[in-house]
Structures are given as structure tokens and as C-alpha cells.
């Protein structure tokens, strides 16, 4: 919002806050977005950021190599806490991915125009988050080179996966989710890859983008089938994304461990996933629009809407916490009651209160229009919510496992250096992949932005 316009909270501006800046044409959106990849020189900031992220990713590589050499004993896990950071981080990363699919599929079906400029990088974020998530159960097996045992194939040992186990459901849910997200993302990219092919000057780039674009030529007959396929994929991805975190919650809810065995887990895991995912989209979008001057495309309207989705899903999560708490007490089951006491007064109580603070109390600030329109505050809040959602998974996994039925089976858990190195390392991998993505592919869907230009110019007539 530049000077000379009405104050930001006047009703006119609220109504008119656009999904795309004024004065854009088909050519200008194409130029501006493709220039980031093709013509603008790579900035020093990109190199510095990439180098830092890549070094952090290197730490993950070392941590995993050491794990392969020594085994899972280098982590803080031991009986009774067999699920430590690996599962906490897995659930956290998978949840983050969910916002990308929500934006690209559900908001597409609901015909929400504001999704257009954020869906591409949100989908990329989904893929990278699923990649980070997938690492954890894989290395948690201890012998990751044998992970193919979980796949149904006619082995010479004559054994088959146990299809009644939620852990096998998880394998199918997460691998389907990763595959479908990749296809959805790629189908959306095809027309933009054709744009990059036609606009790149250097021969090698023309060949690479040309091969990736599959020879797309924008034919009306092709668009006809393309739109059917895209709509169908959106319709398929919508139940898929809801099922994935449901299945992840089954990993807990099917077990009889106190604090896990509740029917509220699936909906409240899904809401939590979308909550943390939108927080991550904001964490990425705010620096991205600043670094590449994309304020015309990722406008305050987008940030405002994402903040509202965060607030709404945050309230569902709060409702989930409340009912989890209430039903444990109301059930009269002494193990469940004891678990609630342990959350409030046990050795991990500070984590529980930090979780309540960052997931329920702090996000209430989002009711304020001024907070939603303050980019810096919004960025900080998105980080607080990310931390809060990580704490939620930590509280669920660790408190229940350290305090189950028999006192002789109680224990304590604390992560080691290698736990942290792996976890922080995956963040490095996530950021590394994002840096590469922004540099080599259009971070905003150019074809859909042109469509938006056409629609907005029609409305003005």
C-alpha cells in the first residue's frame, strides 16, 4: 500500500483489495514471472542463502551416515520410548505438506481466485515436505536398505505385509500422496514449461525446458482435455489429503496407549496439518514476495486470507485439545485421567504449556485486522505456530510413551545431538530444495495468472 491511498482500514480498500496488482497484461505477468528464472541475474543473497541451507543439509547427510554405521542407538530412543524425534518430525513434516494440497485442490474446487498466485510454490512446498517426512520412518527402521520389505511383492521368503497394521496403511497413504502431489504439480507446470522453452535464449535451456514441457503448444483441443484432467486431479487430491493425515493419526489412534486411543484424532490431526501448513506457506511467501518484488502477485489479500484460514483451523485444533482433555476426564478411565495430570504437572509440562501458548493463545491475535496486515508480525506468528505444532506432536508421542499403564514401564526421553542434527538437517534440505525450485522453475503459475488477468479485465468492463 503506497502513500496517497486511503488509510488501510477504510472499507473501500477492504472491499477492493485485489488478488493481482493493477495494470497487468498477459505479456507483463509472463515477463515478470519468467524473468526470475531466465533473465534476472542470480543475486548474491540467493548464493548466500543456498550455501547456508546446503551446509545444514550436509549436516543431515553426516547424521544419517553415522546412523547407518552405528544404528539407532545414537538417538535418544530406547524402550519404552521407541518413537522419538523420528515420528515427531515425520508427522510434523507431513502435516506441513497438507496446506499445499489444500490450496491447489480444495480452493480450486471452491473456485477461490486468490489461490492462483500461491498454489505453485505451495505445491512445491508439499513435495519437499513429503520428501523430508519420508526420510524419518525410513531411517527409523534402522536398516533403511531393507525398507522395500514393506512393499507387497512376491518375495522368495513367502511373506507379505500385514495389511491390518496402520504402519502399512501409512506406507500406502504417504507414497500415494507423494506420487499424486508430484503429478498434480507437474501437470500444472506443463504450460509454464512451454513458456520457458519459448522464451529462453540459450540452446541447452531450450532443450531442457522443451523436453520437460512435452511439446505443449497450447492447442484448444489439448486445453479441453487438460482442464478435465486438472479438475479430476483436484477432485481426487481433496479426499486424498484428508485421508493421509487421518491414516497418520491411525498410527496413534489404533493403539491402546493412553492419550492416543481416541476417535477425535483423525479430524484434529487433519485440522492441525492444515494449520501448520498454512503457517509454513506464510513463512515462505513473506520472504519470497519481498526478495523477488512479487507484491503485485502475492498481495495483502493473500496474506490476509491465509491468516484467516490459520485462525479458523487453529480454533478447530483448540477445540480438539479441549475435547481430548474433557473426554479423558469424563471417561473416568484412570489411565487417561492420569495422562492429563501428567501433561499438566509431569516432567514434560513446560512443553504442554508452550504448546497451548503458541497454538491457541498467540494466534488469537489474528482476529485483529491490523495484525493480519502487518507482514513482520504475521511472519513471526507463522514461526510460532510452526513451533507450536511441532510441540503438539512431541507432547503426543513422548508423554504417552513415557507414562503408560505400568509404572515399571515408565521412562524419560531426551533427544541427543544426532536427533537434532537430523531434524535441523531436514530443514536445510527443505530450504535447499526451495532455493533450487525458485531459481529453475516459475514460482507462480504463469498460465493461471494470465487467466486471472483475463477474468479481472472482463469484470472491469
Amino acid at each position: 500500500m503506497s502513500a496517497g491511498q486511503p488509510p488501510f482500514d477504510s472499507p473501500e480498500i477492504r472491499r477492493l483489495s485485489p488478488v493481482i496488482g493493477p495494470g497487468h497484461t498477459y505479456g507483463s505477468v509472463t515477463d515478470k514471472i519468467s524473468a526470475i528464472v531466465l533473465t534476472r541475474p542470480t543475486s548474491l543473497g540467493w548464493y548466500v542463502g543456498f550455501l547456508i541451507a546446503f551446509s545444514v543439509m550436509g549436516m543431515m547427510t553426516v547424521a544419517i551416515a553415522w546412523l547407518v554405521i552405528k544404528g539407532t542407538g545414537i538417538w535418544g530412543i530406547n524402550i519404552p520410548i521407541g518413537w522419538g524425534f523420528a515420528i515427531v518430525n515425520f508427522v510434523w513434516w507431513i502435516g506441513i505438506g497438507h496446506a499445499g494440497t489444500l490450496i491447489s485442490a480444495i480452493l480450486f474446487l471452491l473456485n477461490q481466485k486468490w489461490r492462483t498466485s500461491i498454489n505453485r510454490f505451495a505445491e512445491a512446498m508439499t513435495l519437499f515436505a513429503v520428501a523430508c517426512a519420508g526420510i524419518f520412518p525410513l531411517i527409523h527402521t534402522g536398516r533403511p536398505w531393507l525398507a522395500f520389505y514393506m512393499m507387497p511383492y512376491p518375495s522368495t521368503m513367502g511373506i507379505w505385509p500385514q495389511f491390518r497394521s496402520p504402519l502399512i496403511w501409512d506406507v500406502f497413504a504417504v507414497s500415494t500422496y507423494g506420487t499424486v502431489s508430484l503429478m498434480f504439480w507437474f501437470v500444472g507446470l506443463i504450460p509454464d514449461l512451454a513458456t520457458l522453452r519459448d522464451r529462453s535464449i540459450r540452446k541447452p535451456l531450450k532443450i531442457i525446458y522443451g523436453m520437460l514441457s512435452l511439446g505443449w503448444r497450447g492447442s484448444g483441443r489439448h486445453w479441453h482435455r487438460y482442464q478435465s484432467a486438472y479438475l479430476l486431479l483436484a477432485g481426487l487430491a481433496t479426499p486424498l489429503v484428508l485421508s493421509v493425515h487421518t491414516v497418520v493419526s491411525f498410527d496413534f489412534a489404533i493403539a491402546i496407549v493412553p492419550g492416543w486411543h481416541t476417535t477425535i484424532f483423525p479430524p484434529y490431526f487433519v485440522a492441525g496439518a492444515i494449520y501448520s501448513g498454512f503457517a509454513m506457506v506464510l513463512t515462505i511467501a513473506i520472504p519470497l514476495r519481498k526478495a523477488y518484488a512479487l507484491e503485485d502477485f502475492i498481495t495483502m489479500r493473500h496474506l490476509d486470507n491465509m491468516a484467516k484460514v490459520m485462525l479458523a483451523t487453529g480454533l478447530i485444533v483448540a477445540y480438539g485439545y479441549f475435547f481430548e482433555f474433557f473426554l479423558s476426564l469424563y471417561s473416568g478411565n484412570k489411565f487417561d485421567v492420569f495422562l492429563v495430570q501428567q501433561r499438566l504437572h509431569g516432567p514434560y509440562a513446560p512443553f504442554y504449556f508452550a504448546l497451548i501458548l503458541s497454538n491457541i493463545l498467540v494466534p488469537q491475535l489474528l482476529w485483529s485486522y491490523k495484525v493480519r496486515h502487518n507482514v513482520v508480525v504475521l511472519f513471526l506468528m507463522s514461526i510460532v505456530v510452526n513451533i507450536g505444532m511441532w510441540l503438539e506432536r512431541f507432547v503426543i508421542v513422548v508423554i504417552s510413551l513415557t507414562r503408560d499403564f505400568v509404572p515399571s514401564a515408565w521412562g524419560r526421553y531426551s533427544p541427543t545431538f544426532w536427533d537434532w542434527a537430523t531434524f535441523i538437517g531436514t530443514m536445510g534440505m527443505f530450504v535447499t530444495l526451495l532455493f533450487l525450485f525458485v531459481r529453475v522453475l516459475p514460482a507462480i503459475s504463469i498460465a493461471e495468472m494470465r487467466e486471472l488477468v483475463a477474468e479481472t479485465s472482463e469484470e472491469e468492463k
Binding site: 498477459y26 505479456g27 509472463t30 515477463d31 507387497p152 513367502g158 511373506i159 507379505w160 495389511f163 491390518r164 496402520p166 502399512i168 496403511w169 500406502f172 497413504a173 500415494t176 506420487t179 499424486v180 503429478m183 498434480f184 507437474f186 501437470v187 504450460p191 512451454a194 513458456t195 522453452r197 519459448d198 522464451r199 522443451g210 523436453m211 512435452l214 511439446g215 505443449w216 503448444r217 497450447g218 492447442s219 484448444g220 483441443r221 489439448h222 486445453w223 479441453h224 482435455r225 487438460y226 482442464q227 478435465s228 484432467a229 479430476l232 486431479l233 481426487l236 487430491a237 479426499p239 486424498l240 485421508s243 491414516v247 491411525f250 498460465a447 493461471e448 494470465r450 487467466e451 483475463a454
Partner: protein, 179 residues
């Protein structure tokens, strides 16, 4: 006589509205083998080109059915036939426990069918195509709209088509060569 090296005649337009008008008029003039090229999907273009329902939804349905039936069959075969485990006398065909994997494989099969069905029906990948021989066609992926009347149309005649394109206000009317 038609030249065998000719793919068609192409005209260029500046806006989607002009493109739609042109496509409608060219079809009214009796041409059927024509295609429009646009940098984004245009509402009404499928109707203007006379395209009916396509096969993608049917293929997707088949893919989903194959995934679902195959998925359930896989689990039934593994858990009840080839590798039965008696756990406390519980039934081997414990179908409620097979629902999550069946569901996921239904979605997977349908998605594969939607994507690869769409690509196959569109004959993609297809990296070389005569329309790319037109120099200005690089704009078809950014800000320009094109119509090409193809030489295999029974009514095709180079001059007549060029005149028709002129009448519908096309710019840069060019012959599209096959080589």
C-alpha cells in the same frame, strides 16, 4: 492440387475475444480441421471448436476401479489366501482393516489414469510439430492467440483460407510448412 509440404494457414490475434469470434466464423465457413492456440484455457473455446465431451473422465473412472479392485484383491490374496495368519481366531478376510489401502490405491489408479490418459489422448510428448515452424508462434505461450486451418481439411485452399483469416481480422497470416 495441394502442396504436400503445407500443414496449414495460420493467423494471429491479440485477445481471446477476437480468437473466439474468428474460430466461430471459420467454422461457419465450413472448415472442420482447424485448431486454436492460446496461452491459457479460454472459456467457450471448446464450444467454439465444436469439441464434445472427452474421454478423460471415463479413463479416470476405469483407473480408479482398477486401483480399488486391484488394491482390495491384493490384500485379500495376501491376508486370506497366500499368507493367512491366525491371530486369536479372527477372520482372515478382515475387510474393514483393508479399507485404507483400498482407498489410497483407488486414488492412485484414478490419478495415474487421469494424467497419462490426458497425455495419451493429446498425443503428448510431441516435441516437434509443424506449428513451431512459425517464428511468431513463440508468443502462443505468452500473450498471443493463433488459429490454424489445416491443409487436410477437404475444403482447404491456401488463398481462400488466407482471405478468410483476413476477413476475421487476423494479423501476420502465414503458411505453416511441414518441414
Amino acid at each position: 492440387m495441394q502442396r504436400s509440404d503445407l500443414y496449414g494457414v495460420m493467423g494471429e490475434f491479440g485477445t481471446p475475444e477476437e480468437l473466439l469470434q474468428a474460430v466461430k466464423k471459420i467454422r461457419q465457413a465450413g472448415y472442420r480441421r482447424l485448431d486454436a492456440y492460446a496461452p491459457f484455457p479460454i472459456e467457450g473455446l471448446s464450444d467454439a471448436l465444436g469439441l464434445k465431451r472427452n474421454l478423460v473422465p471415463a479413463i479416470t473412472l476405469l483407473g480408479g476401479l482398477a486401483g480399488g479392485i486391484g488394491g482390495f484383491g491384493l490384500q485379500y490374496w495376501a491376508a486370506a489366501i497366500t499368507y493367512p495368519l491366525n491371530i486369536g481366531g479372527r477372520p482372515l478376510n478382515s475387510w474393514p482393516a483393508f479399507i485404507p489401502v483400498t482407498f489410497e490405491l483407488t486414488i492412485l489408479g484414478a490419478s495415474f489414469a487421469a494424467v497419462f490418459g490426458m497425455l495419451a489422448l493429446n498425443r503428448l510428448p510431441h516435441p516437434h510439430h509443424p506449428v513451431f515452424n512459425v517464428a511468431r508462434f513463440t508468443h502462443a505461450s505468452s500473450d498471443r492467440f493463433f488459429v490454424c486451418i489445416e491443409a487436410n481439411d477437404p475444403n482447404f485452399h491456401v488463398e481462400k483460407c488466407a482471405r478468410l483469416l483476413q476477413e476475421v481480422h487476423a494479423h501476420h497470416i502465414t503458411e505453416v510448412s511441414n518441414e
